[in-house]
Structures are given as C-alpha cells and as structure tokens.
C-alpha cells in the first residue's frame, strides 16, 4: 500500500456546544475498498460523514484527498472531488419522476439522462424506470434512484448512511450485489452501519467509533460479531433472554375489517385489517415504513376516527368513533414514533409533558394543575427509566432523541396500561437503552399487559414478539407465530411476494 489513501482524515475534531461529537479522528479509505464506519447511535458517525461531505467543517484536523490537503466548504466542493452521498432519509421529490429528480442535480438533457440511468441500472443491478413517478416507487427503488443520481456524477467515493435500515432482507441482498459491482469498477465505498453481521459480510475494513472517538481499526472478517460489539459499545452486547409467554388472557384489542381510504395522495389505504391482541401477549407489526404503519397507529390511538365504531375494539368496547382521551380512559396508552411535536411538546418542561397524557394520575384538582404531583411523577419517570437530563424543569426539546424516547415510554408505562401501542420503540436509541426498553416491554407483558409493537427492526420483533404480522401496502398478513416463522417468510410478506 504505497499509494496515498484516497481519503484520509487526521486528528479531526468537531464540537457542538458542550458535546464533543468527533474527537481526533484518524481515518483512511483506500481506493476500491468497502470501508465500514461502525458505531451505535450517537457515536459520531453522522457528524463524521457531514465533515467529509462538506456539510459541516471540522474545528481541528485536516482532510486529504489523494494525498493533497483539501478544504470542503460545502457539499458541491466534495462532489467536485468525486464524493457522493446517499442519505438515510431520501431527498427526492415525490411529485416528480425519476429523470426530473436526477436532472435537479445532474446536468444533461432528459433523454440522455434517461438513457444513462438505464445503462447504469443494467451495469450495476439498479433497475429502475426513468419515467416512473417517485411516489409510486418502493423504498428499495427510491434508494436505487439516489445511488444512480450519485453515480451519474462519477464519484470515486460513495458514502451510504445506514442504507439497509429501510430495506427488507431480500433487497439488502440486491444492494450488496450492487456495491460489490461498484467496488469491482474501482469505486470506494464508505458504509455506515450499526449492524455487525452486514459489515462482516460486505466490508474489507472497518473503523469503529464510540463516543466520538476511534476505538478500533480492523478487518471485520477477522473478528466475530461479539468482538466487534465489544469495540462498538465498550462491553459485551447486552443479552435479553425472553421467556415464553404464558397462556394469553382476554382480548384487549380487536381490529375487525378495519379499512380506511388514504387521506392524501401519498398516504396508504388500509384494507380490511383483522387483528386480535390478548392480555399477556406481545404482537409485532413488521414492514417498511410507509406501508400504512402511521395510518394504522393513528386509527388505533383515536387520532383518526374509524369509519365504524366496531372496527376498533379496546377491552371489548367498540371505540372506532371515540377520541384518544376516551380510549385512554379505558386503559390504553401509546408511544408514537415521532417524539418531538407529537409524543412531547418541545417547548415545554418535562413535568408539563407528563401532564400531556398522565393527567389522570391525580395531577388535576378541579381542573387546576397540581404541580407537586406533576413533578414527583416526572421525577419517578426520570429515575425509573434512566432519562439523562438536569431534571423535571428541562425542556423536552433539549433532550437527545434517545433520552426523550425513554421519557415518553416511561410516561406511558407508568400509567400501567392494559393495552399499550408502541411505534418504533428503539429508533435512535443506543443499544444498551434499547435492550432495557425491550426488557421493560417483556416485563409489562408478563404482568398481563397486551402490547402491540410497530417496528421496522426485524431483529427486535423476533426477539420479543409472540406473534408477528406484516403490513404491506395497507394489507396485514395473517399472524405468524414467532417460533414457527423465519426472516425469509416475513421478508416475503414485506415485499408482497406472499400475501
């Protein structure tokens, strides 16, 4: 390895206020390699990529490209060098077609671009119709559009931020195939992930981050997942052993032919959904976001009213026409996937955020707010669920995503619900906290609570659910008992190969 690295960072640091996001990072990416950046949530991966892509600027340290020192003031500087990036959350306009989206970033006549899109598609296994409207594309196809858009700029280095987190298992295979072909073509790839097995399968090199610092530089194939986890979280991977559920009790939630036409052009129509959830049971709903998950959650919570009362039954009562407060009065509680602005009010103190849904816990007297009860409830939630915050007076908007999730989940669990709906319980939460959250959910189940979990993380659902359904384009699969199904079967439902 005498040639200088394609991209090298030395001593790069970045600080946001009191948080040191990156500290003295050294990184070296060889031309034509697939290099993993491994780290859990909050380890500083995204910040590092923003520095490389010119979105942010390092406080200290330097970046070299082919041995030459570079200053990346903006993303166009990085693109000019030959750096392309595919973001975790896609930046495509749904109302435009593929060529139009591409032409916003890539110069050229639409007809020529369309031809090149088809050509690149066949060369790298990225088949996509250039004239298709983006809103009609699946998540996997949208990701291909993003990748093609980068490839049209002839990058020498392609950055992919958690590319597999939105894909069903089958599409992950296709993506890896594409990445290997790109590698054979001489393109270097920076692959950001927290999924150990994927990295071991795909990558030649890995740089591991923890708390903003590099904690390891290894060939991932030489180490097992446990050793990588050690480097990533600094201790052994927390194990969660889930005992089998006891005999399930009475029916707590019943969805009966629940149908709802989509409310916007980009929404999903729910079509005749049947589901039964009993006391002491955890039922999971797998599937890629955007297949009706949000619509279904809002119908169960009461934020959207169902067309007929008996379509949604909570503890035996038809509630399809009732609002969230009436449903909560029956013993329902709900952790939504959006934390800021829905599960919590960012500009209010945590104690006032307790009031949002926990006001029935004696926090009101004659309609007046009992601050001391509000505060002691909040204090208990902070202590029990290990929320890292200065105290009940801190505003929700100042908490990190993971801490806010712990607070909201804690608030809803402290209500001792008979029926709990949790949407994406561990999005953006670090591994230790995610394990703690799952353990809590299992404890609640063993205490007799009926729990419905909507999650994109298949591993999570397989870890704690007793039954798994798959939601695909507004259809719900039959219930698959965890013990008798497999990731492949669930994956087939996720892409609509089975229904």
């Amino acid at each position: 390895m005498s040639a200088p690295a394609l991209l090298a960072l030395s001593g790069v640091s970045k600080r946001y206020g009191s948080i040191q996001a990156n500290k003295a990072i050294d990184l070296s990416v060889r031309a034509g390699s697939i290099h993993a950046i491994l780290g859990e949530n909050g380890a500083g991966k995204s910040t590092l990529m923003k520095l490389i892509y010119g979105v942010e600027h390092p406080d200290e340290g330097q970046i070299t490209w082919n041995g030459k020192r570079v200053e990346l003031a903006r993303p166009s500087d990085a693109q000019a060098l030959g750096i392309g990036m595919v973001f975790q959350h896609f930046s495509l306009f749904e109302t435009l077609n593929v060529v139009q989206n591409v032409s916003l970033m890539v110069p050229g006549k639409p007809a020529e671009l369309a031809a090149r899109i088809v050509e690149l598609g066949s060369r790298f296994g990225l088949a996509v119709d250039p004239n298709a409207m983006v809103h009609s594309l699946s998540v996997g196809e949208r990701q291909r559009v993003e990748i093609i858009r980068c490839l049209l700029l002839n990058p020498k280095l392609l950055i992919l931020d958690e590319p597999t987190s939105v894909l069903p298992p089958q599409s992950v295979r296709l993506l890896f195939e594409t990445l290997r072909r790109l590698q054979a073509d001489g393109t270097a790839i920076l692959f950001i992930s927290h999924k150990l097995e994927e990295i071991r399968e795909l990558c030649d090199e890995a740089t591991i981050l923890r708390g903003g610092q590099v904690t390891g530089r290894v060939n991932p194939r030489d180490h097992d997942a446990r050793a990588l986890a050690q480097m990533m979280i600094g201790r052994d991977m927390p194990q969660l052993t889930v005992s089998d559920a006891g005999e399930p009790g009475e029916v707590r939630l019943k969805l009966q032919r629940l149908s709802q036409p989509r409310s916007t052009r980009f929404g999903t129509t729910l079509d005749g959904i049947d589901l039964t959830l009993r006391a002491g049971q955890i039922v999971g709903i797998a599937g890629i976001s955007g297949n009706g998950q949000q619509e279904l959650a809002a119908l169960i919570s009461g934020e959207t009213r169902a067309a007929a009362p008996e379509m949604v039954q909570i503890l035996g009562q038809p509630v399809g026409d009732k609002g969230p407060m009436d449903r909560r009065a029956l013993g329902f509680s709900f952790v939504p996937e959006e934390r800021l602005g829905r599960g919590a009010v960012p500009d209010m103190a945590l104690s006032d955020n307790s009031l949002l849904t926990a006001h029935r816990q004696g926090m009101l007297r004659g309609g007046f707010i009992q601050r001391s009860i509000e505060r002691s409830f909040t204090r208990q939630c902070i202590d029990d669920f290990d929320v890292r915050t200065p105290g009940p007076e801190a505003e929700a908007g100042a908490l990190s995503g993971g801490n806010l999730q712990k607070f909201i989940l804690g608030r809803e669990l402290l209500l001792a619900p008979d029926l709990l709906l949790v949407s994406q319980p561990t999005w953006g939460v670090d591994i230790g906290a995610a394990t703690a959250i799952r353990r809590r959910l299992v404890e609640m189940r063993d205490g007799g609570t009926a729990i419905l979990i909507i999650s994109e993380e298949l591993e999570e659902l397989f870890e704690i659910c007793d039954l798994i359904h798959v939601l695909h384009e507004g259809h719900l699969s039959p219930a698959l008992p965890r013990a008798r199904t497999s990731a492949e079967e669930v994956g087939a439902y996720m892409i609509g190969a089975k229904a």
């Binding site: 969230p324 602005g341 500009d347 007046f368 707010i369 007076e393």
Partner: protein, 356 residues
Amino acid sequence: MKIRMVRRDAASHLAMVGAPVLALVLTALCSLVLFAALGVDAGTALHALLLKPFLTWYSFSEVLLKMAPLLLIAQGIAIGFRANVFNIGAEGQFIIGAVCASAFPVYFPEGDFPVMLPAMILAGGLGGLAYAAIAAGLRTRFGASEILVTLMLSLIAIQILNYLLLGPWKDPRGFNFPQTVMFPANAQLPRLFEGVRPNISLFFALGASLLAYLLMERHFRGYQLRTAGLAPRAALYAGFSTSRMIWLSLCIGGLAAGIAGASEVAGPLAQLQRSVATGYGYAAIIVAYVGGLRPLGIIASSFLISVIYIGGDSATVSANLPIAAVEVFQGMLLVFYLMTFTLIRFRFEIEREAPA
C-alpha cells in the same frame, strides 16, 4: 469568526424581561434617525413620546384610561394567540360590544331601567362573544380562516355602527350628527378619581388579567390551549379537542373585546359615536405580543403602549411630529420585539474558525 444561534436548555427568564427593554431601546435609537430625517428635534420628540405622559397627573390619568381597554382586549385575544387561533378582529367585537351596550340607554334615555350598568356590560360582552362566535362556527364547520373572517367582520361591524348612527339611533336633537343621545348618569361607569376620566373598567381589565393568569398558567384547559399552539400534533395525540379550543379562544377574545367596547361607551364617551372605533382592537394585537402573550407581561405592555399613545398625541402637538411617525414608532416596537424575542429560547455563540 462565525456567530451561531444555539438553543437554550430552558427559556431564559432574564431574556424574557430583557427582550422588551432591548426592543424599546432599539426602537428609540432608530426613531432618533427617523426623526432627524424628518427634521424634528429628536430629543424633543422622545421627551414628548416617553416622558411627558408622566409629568402631569392629568396626562398620567389619560394613560390609565387608555390602558383599560387595551389590557382587557389584549388579555382576551392573547389566549387565542397562544393556541394558534388568530382573532385579529377584536376591533369588530369591540364595536359590536359598544353597540349592544348602547341599546339600553338609547331605548331608556331617562335612565328608567333598573340594572342599567350591569345590563350594558353583560350585553356588550355577550354581543362581542356572539360576533366572534361567527368566526368560530365558520372555522370549525367549513375550515374558513379565522384571520380573514374576524378581519372582515370588523369592516361589517363599522357599517352596522354607521347604519345605526345615521338611522334609527341618531339623536333627534343632535343637529344631524351621527351619534346617539348622551347617556343618563346611571349608564356611566363610576370614575376612579375626582376630576380625571379613568373609571372602574380598569378593574375589569385587571380582574381579567388575574383570570387569564389562572387559566393559562394554572388550569388544565389553559395547558391544552398552550399545547395546541406549541405542538398541534401533540394536542391531537393527547386527544385535546381542536374545535373546542377554537370556540373557547374566540369566545374569550370576543367576550373581553365586547366588555371593553361597552366600557368605552359607558365610560369616556357617554354616548355611541363613530369615534368609538379608534383602533383599540388592532393596537391590542401589538400589546399582546409585546407582553409575550403572558398575562403579567401584557399588564406591563399595555401600560407601555398607552404611554406611547398619550406621548404620541403630545408629540404631534409639541414636537410637531406627523401622526404617521408615531405609528411607525409603534410598528418598530413590535418588529424589534419579535426580533429580540428569539433571545428567550436561543443564545448566540461566537465560534472561531479552526486555524488554517
């Protein structure tokens, strides 16, 4: 070097008090330039605007007189503003309140009605409430923007006022002027002090401030209103009824503006005339925002704006300042306040670029 805005962990109480003060200072500085450009001696103008109202008991009493309706209306509409319900037509509700209250003395000009004042205040309040409720009904039923509806209703209210004053309610012995009869003594609010005009409507306004404080800072209903304003989807998630918020916000705003209108005809005017519509309803929007939409802040801001009103009057006379310049002064105060308001939740951080 780069300056960035960083979110504070919690709203700064210092900045909450400091922001209006800073806004006032910036406004004063800018008006110095403006007044100089107009060829007015800036010192005289600012002296008249900000100091003169305090120099005589009479002019100070006029400040208190202005403050009563501004405070009352602003407390009412600020509640809605915090819930993102923008009733900007308090002027119309104020006029309708004045009209409804005037019905009693107009039809009983000898004062031969037993509970004259309570009836007037009640009728004024309910009239304003009903007028604002039109906007609530149109918003909840048809999704019509309450901003437009309340604003347009204000224009209609002025025409209702004109019709009554030029037609059925015109004082037959009033030399054809568009005004009603002078009200009998029992249709006039008791004055607070001998010889000057402030009346007990100031207590209505202070009482309303206390109620607004209890509702918004202590009561669950106020919490729901605040939640609806700060995070509408969180209010939906918790199940707070949106239409109830809209009704409540508009009815409270209309009630307060209506009582203020009634107090105006039962107070300094002592009759219904066109000049009842002097723009208190619009000025109250500025008062509400300068007060940070908080009940205590609004008490301070209503006093401040009243000072500027009275000071503005005297500046047009003694410093020869055009009335438009006074309005610009008030407008600048609002704009600067909205700018400095950011400091409550954000602080500036100076960041040195990494040495190259």
